[in-house]
Symmetry: C2
Subunit: 888 residues, 2 copies
């Protein structure tokens, strides 16, 4: 028989902190504290498996559940010495959700459950406080009606306000026991009116109603959205915790409070929290009364004249202090705790690892190592790698006002403010005059790169998290919001509109690339500061990790930034990005438009010295670190102008007619450029292009090797291979160029020739491809596109529907789809290494900077990951975490 | 030690007919005949492995080759009783290519090798015919110089003509021995002049020169093109056959000839061939003299007064007759033989299975079964399934003149003549007036369907073998030439131009969908006739095959045609093709442009009755056979108009502004529609569309079941699934519609819900998808696109480069790529059946009609293949062949 219910209380528990998946976070920690002998009101937990079973069986419960709940309730009754529903000495309980991952405020809670017209009298007698009893009852009816019966709380609040007005009273606390009894009558009438039946008096009906409501709240809109934002699978389910009530509102010897064992903003080691005398937990959060400081030091520091708990209840405070220190030592982490004092007795209601800022997380982790609480391997696990983003980019001042007009995708983190420019040229020329510019485009293309460079940030109305704008912006470290689909951008009138807001070129807006928000006007930002603790933690990460960390970089600026952030090489240099400079694009276009080989070669000869200088610069900056250079990848039409005016200009320069150019451009048009004439297919059609690039690489390597007295070993990467025959054909040509260059230079060249694995067929045929290829780099962007059959530039819209309907968790372009794309990567790795033991394996898709994906890369034994420069620290930390996890 | 050389002769041989892969076709059959004791001049074969090794090792030979050749030559010398290069009694040899597959005339041959200034004297003495000796020598010098030394034969022919003119002679045979000796001197001078060195006198130099030339000719342009056209891998290589010369030109008691054991045009059982007295084999082919009939009957039948071989050399003829009958009985197939008579002795120089027309192949196969020569299982193997196309479509009269102006891809077989129309509307209206129309478009789209229906044939300048035009044309049985990239089509001026040929609307052209040729004017065609033998053979195929054969069909006409051709159901009904009728497209567009669910539902309600009638028609025609219906697949923008005029018209009807419509159309624009918002992604975003389609299907099934008294079991197919979650989401909605319809009709419904497997991820996750899906149909068109990462509409151009450079054999869209796509299909089949034993598996991509792909489907245990109606007979035959092959 499945055990669906786990009890805790009286210094014992059926579970513990290790049972988080089964008991949820709250339930597991209540059990743990109870087991430690801490003062926890007794209770029991319905497991997350009940929730899963409930949803799998048309919202019905397992057969054995009722008996198990009854038995557990009996245990609580015995410990407390009261009975649930008893008219003499009634037990009251709270019913709370508690998922595996913390989802604060997302799901429902019912307090004071077990009150009815009889038990309220008993509570009054027993507590000797009639007002308390009736106040508890009216709170219960309101909460239960709202949460379980679906009657909005404002109905009840209205009645309360009316009563206070009638009586000429200002505060709730001014109401007498009689007033509250009258209010309870009104509340019950309201329920009867709304539902056609009376408020439930049977405490078991109340209990099962509340349980059902908590399980139901797992699928409420708030919870679904929260899970989506935090990548929490719907299949996890929530537990339900039922616990004997304790009351912080029984008088001035009662209180309730929350605390952190260290400062969650800065990480400083000081006990930190708030409490309220004579209140229930909800009151602290609700903000009706201003809570008081826990410690004397904090009160004095804040120059607050209300006394601290340390002063008011010194015994309780001392007990609390001992408990928090014990909890921190026990959990070996900063704790977020909730407590209640009932008539001088302290009760612990919750403990959990406290949420903290990235800065605090780093400080706490480092200090706990210094305190001997943690090993370094544990410390690096305590900081969420993605949270480092907060430290690496300027962020919006959380205190500042903001007027959000629309929201797109958080494509590249950081905040930026500037004047709107609708073209790259405009952005560049205004930036040259010293203006802060935000480049706003429907979509960006490689031709916009100079404008993206010049701009403070980029906003697009089309394209996903891995659209051109997003990928390039992340590489540059520019904030970017992409796919803000509600924006109607009109280049002709130089305006954009969303709702009633019309923005014209030159207007100032702000974007938050961390949230996707677009705001009117300027919003204040905070600059990042990297503390000494950051450096310490990152040094530990370097010691621990096994994966190499490279960067995706093309420009000297990117390469330098990446080195600063700790990159150990370049994993992906996209050579096409080098072709868009104004002084090159013309030669590139000449090459594309050439009628024959001779014409192409003439144009390529003009590009060669520039391309060589690119590599000289990169090799020089990287000083002997490996540099993987991908040969030309995008389809040629991406380099051609689109407008008639530009075509006419090009015609002028090349001597061709505009009609001929249009015909050629039309010939190059593709229905699905992603699946078109690109990658190695270009190298096969026009070997002279790759030969020029190979020559530029090898000549640069020879030059820099001689200059630095250190051998540069370039890794030449052939993109979009689908078969061994393609690879062999191109490898031979590249090697022939290397032989020529070596002969011309009179020196030996060292180099590797390898390939990107970015097509399913390449993964399948990896064994034979590795017979020739000396390294594989997984291009998981394109591999995700082909394995799923989705275009990253077109998918933002419909993936939204997938999220809304619970069909897809997360974004496969952000976190590697392990079940599908991951199987292809693992299979290719295995087949590749089987054919060439020790084959060098890396990943250079966007996933190379994603912690979950990095963990996968570690698990299948890749050699390195490569990511955009600003994600290098994140990747270093994630790699360290993955290494620790992998040895465990 | 590898054996590189195999000897034959004197009634013995080291190989036989089974060694075709090693010895090539010619070598294997020479060995076989020799082993049978037939009169074959002795010789030896350098294996195809020598060729492969030669190309793999920078065109050098294996170390042991020279010794093995010398030894084999020694054997020939012993049998013939002459010595190679001997000045007294010289052995002369022929050097011929011989690949695994017949490549007639594609590679090089050298005859009379071993002649030099000394041996020619010996040959004269030995033959007693000085003129013959010098004639042989001058022929040898010319042939060797042309083939081996690279001196074009016209140089030598010029000298010959000059000499005849000097001497006042008309025919070559008028030249005397002295004349020829003089000519030899001139030829040798010519060689010295051209090369700077003398014609080789060393016979071993001659031999190795010729061997090198034959191996070299494997890579000549002709051979490469031929291999590409016939899907022969470059890796096969050619063998080289070296054989003692026999001479049909030693006088009037000598002769040479070629023959077929049955008529290769009609298949009639009659000995059939030609010969020439006093000639070498090359003369028969060259057509300088008119050859004579072999048999008396044939001569009389042709009213030819030149005597037959039967009359001139009755003994030799009798011997030849006995041999041909023996060969046919031995090989159990119609043979194509070559023979030479040297001074009254018959020598066999070649036998091979004779090429034949499809008609002949069928007749021969059927008659050989009736003669007891073959089993039915063998007979069905004797007809190339693809050749049936010749019988199913009208074809160009091979005798007719044709003026070819350009060539595209042979996209849909058959020939068509008509007046050029540049738009579908034009094509339709002119066809309605009784004109024969050829629709010419840069590309076609679903909106052109009515014009394609109305036209006799379709010609496009863009798109591959599986472009929209090609797929639809094959489905309709319309001839089509696609991707004729040299055509410049100008819709505005209603003209198209290629080279100097300008064609205006209304001009008559002819296309040959079997060759891809485009011709000016009308070219006569021949109508197909299906003989009784065809029906017999197809009945045998039905008995033998295990795979089911379904068809891809949407219209009643297609369904009826498919039934006529023997289809056993519909494997793919593409519902989107039903949405383009003029009376529907408006409602479809309304649905797409609707702002909300209610608007979409209103539009869908208009489409429902029409869609239901579509299925009523199909179910009625298919009378209980299974029908697989694919729910809407293409992206919605395919249904929207593109031109401003059409947009304005639509705005008029819908009440939206043209600007709004353009915005919406722009919103729907996709960079890579193939990877975009289509397939089940539409069903997830707009479940109401699939629900309408499901309702139409189930209501139609209920209607037709009641009418026919036979349960219709529709198979509802969800396209483009990538994950189980997608399938589950849609399956639930479709099943709910079925429940509703069943309740409304008060009757039970039987149906299956399954999916297309057309994405790599679906193949990988097939196990869990099959937990829900009741059948899989492999959509290998899209699977090929995603596994390779190539767009079928964009790949024609660069795949051409792949073929030219030997990187790809064949077209993966025509024949399934077994190594890549095939592994995905096999893996999905295995995982699917593991999770759901007996899972119904089919294939509905274009590969379903391709014989090689069908063999693969059989080998991995699929249940059926589905192909366009006109390929059903081909698929039936191919399936029978696959079944036989699989049991072997």
């Amino acid at each position: 028989m499945t055990k669906w219910v786990y009890s805790f209380g009286d210094g014992q528990a059926e579970g513990g902190a290790g049972d988080r998946n089964l008991l949820g976070g709250k339930g597991a920690n209540l059990a743990e504290m109870s087991g430690l002998g801490l003062p926890v009101p007794p209770g029991f937990t319905l497991t997350t498996e009940v929730c899963t079973a409930y949803y799998e069986n048309d919202e019905t419960y397992p057969a054995e559940l009722r008996d198990q709940v009854q038995e557990a309730m009996g245990l609580v009754e015995t410990i407390v010495g009261a009975r649930f529903g008893d008219a003499e000495n009634p037990l009251l309980v709270s019913v709370r959700s508690g998922a595996r991952a913390s989802m604060p405020g997302m799901m429902d809670t019912v307090l004071n459950l077990g009150l009815n017209d009889d038990t309220v009298q008993a509570l009054a007698r027993h507590s000797g406080n009639e007002r308390f009893a009736w106040d508890s009852y009216r709170r219960f009816i309101q909460m239960y009606s709202d949460v379980v019966l679906g009657i909005d709380h404002y109905h009840f609040e209205g009645l309360l306000e009316d009563l206070k007005e009638d009586k000429g009273l200002r505060l709730d606390t001014d109401l007498s026991a009689d007033d509250l009894r009258q209010l309870v009558d009104q509340f019950k009438a309201k329920v009867k009116d709304a539902l056609g039946e009376a408020f439930p008096q049977d405490v078991n009906d109340q209990l099962w109603g509340a349980i059902g409501a908590v399980f139901g709240s797992w699928q409420n809109a708030r919870a679904v959205t929260y899970r989506r934002l935090h990548d929490i699978p719907a299949s996890w389910g929530t537990a339900v915790n039922i616990q004997a009530m304790v009351f912080g509102n029984m008088g001035d010897d009662s209180a309730t409070g929350v605390a952190f064992t260290r400062d969650p903003s800065t990480g400083e080691r000081r006990f930190f929290g708030e409490y309220l005398i004579n209140a229930q937990g909800e009151d602290v959060v609700a903000g009706i009364r201003t809570p008081q400081h826990l410690t004397l030091a904090a009160r004095e520091n804040a120059k607050d004249d209300k006394p601290s708990l340390q002063e008011v209840m010194p015994t309780v405070f001392a007990e609390l202090e001992a408990i928090y220190q014990r909890l921190e030592a026990h959990y070996r982490d900063m704790q977020d705790i909730e407590f209640t004092v009932q008539r001088g007795s302290l009760y612990m209601l919750q403990t959990r690892s406290g949420k903290r800022t990235a800065e605090a997380a780093i400080r706490i982790a480092v200090e706990m190592v210094n305190e001997g609480l943690l090993h370094r391997e544990e410390a690096v696990q305590r900081v969420a790698p993605d949270s480092l983003d907060q430290l690496l980019h300027p962020t919006l001042d959380p205190e500042a006002d903001r007027q959000v007009i629309t929201q797109g995708l958080p494509a590249s983190p950081g905040a930026a403010t500037g004047k709107v420019a609708f073209s790259a040229d405009q952005a560049e020329s205004l930036a040259a005059q010293g203006e802060d510019i935000l480049l706003v485009r429907i979509e960006t293309s490689p031709e916009d790169i100079h404008g993206m460079h010049a701009a403070r940030g980029i906003l697009t109305s089309r394209g996903g998290m891995t659209s051109h704008a997003a990928v390039v912006a992340r590489g540059m470290g520019r904030p970017c919001v992409s796919g803000a689909g509600q924006l109607r951008i009109d280049y002709q009138t130089q305006t954009m509109q969303v709702g009633d807001n019309k923005i014209v070129a030159g207007d100032v807006i702000t974007i938050d690339g961390g949230s996707g928000e677009v705001m009117l006007g300027e919003v204040a930002t905070i600059q990042p500061k990297l503390s000494g603790d950051f450096a310490t933690l990152m040094a530990w990460a370097n010691d621990i990790r096994q994966l190499g960390i490279r960067t995706n970089a093309e420009t000297p600026a990117e390469a330098k930034a990446a080195i600063k952030f700790g990159a150990e090489g370049i994993g992906l240099c996209r050579t096409e990005h080098m072709f868009f400079d104004a002084d090159r694009i013309l030669a590139v276009r000449e090459m594309i438009l050439a009628e024959d080989l001779a014409g192409r070669q003439a144009a390529l000869a003009k590009i060669l010295p520039m391309q060589r200088q690119d590599f000289v610069d990169l090799f020089t900056i990287m000083t002997g670190l490996p540099v993987t250079i991908r040969l030309l990848d995008p389809p040629l039409h991406e380099f051609l102008p689109r407008s008639d005016a530009e075509l006419a200009q090009l015609a002028n320069v090349t001597g061709a007619t505009a009609e001929d150019l249009r015909f050629r451009a039309n010939q190059l048009h593709e229905y699905n450029p992603m699946l078109g004439h690109r990658g190695c297919r270009l190298g096969i059609s026009y070997p002279e292009i790759y030969e020029m690039q190979a020559r530029a690489i090898f000549e640069a390597a020879a030059l820099v090797s001689a200059e630095q007295g250190k051998t540069v070993v370039p890794e030449v990467m052939i993109p979009l291979i689908a078969s061994k025959a393609e690879f062999t054909f191109l490898q031979a040509r590249i090697a022939a160029v290397a032989d020529q260059v070596a002969a011309e230079q009179g020196s030996e060249l060292e180099y590797l020739i390898g390939t990107m694995i970015e097509l399913p067929r390449a993964a399948l045929r990896a064994g034979e491809i590795a017979e020739g290829a000396e390294f594989f780099s997984f291009g998981t962007n394109d591999l995700t596109q082909t394995v799923f059959g989705i275009s990253r530039d077109d998918s933002a819209g419909f993936l939204e529907d997938y999220h809304d309907k619970g069909i897809l968790d997360g974004d496969p372009f952000a976190t590697l789809d392990i079940d599908g794309v991951g199987e292809m990567v693992a299979l290719a790795s295995e087949r590749g290494r089987k054919s060439r033991p020790g084959l060098k394996l890396g990943i250079c898709g966007e996933h190379g900077g994603d912690p979950a994906s990095i963990a996968f890369c570690q698990s299948i034994g890749l050699d390195y990951v490569s990511c955009s420069p600003f994600r290098v620290p994140i990747a270093r930390l994630a790699a360290a975490q993955a290494a620790v996890k992998n040895t465990q």
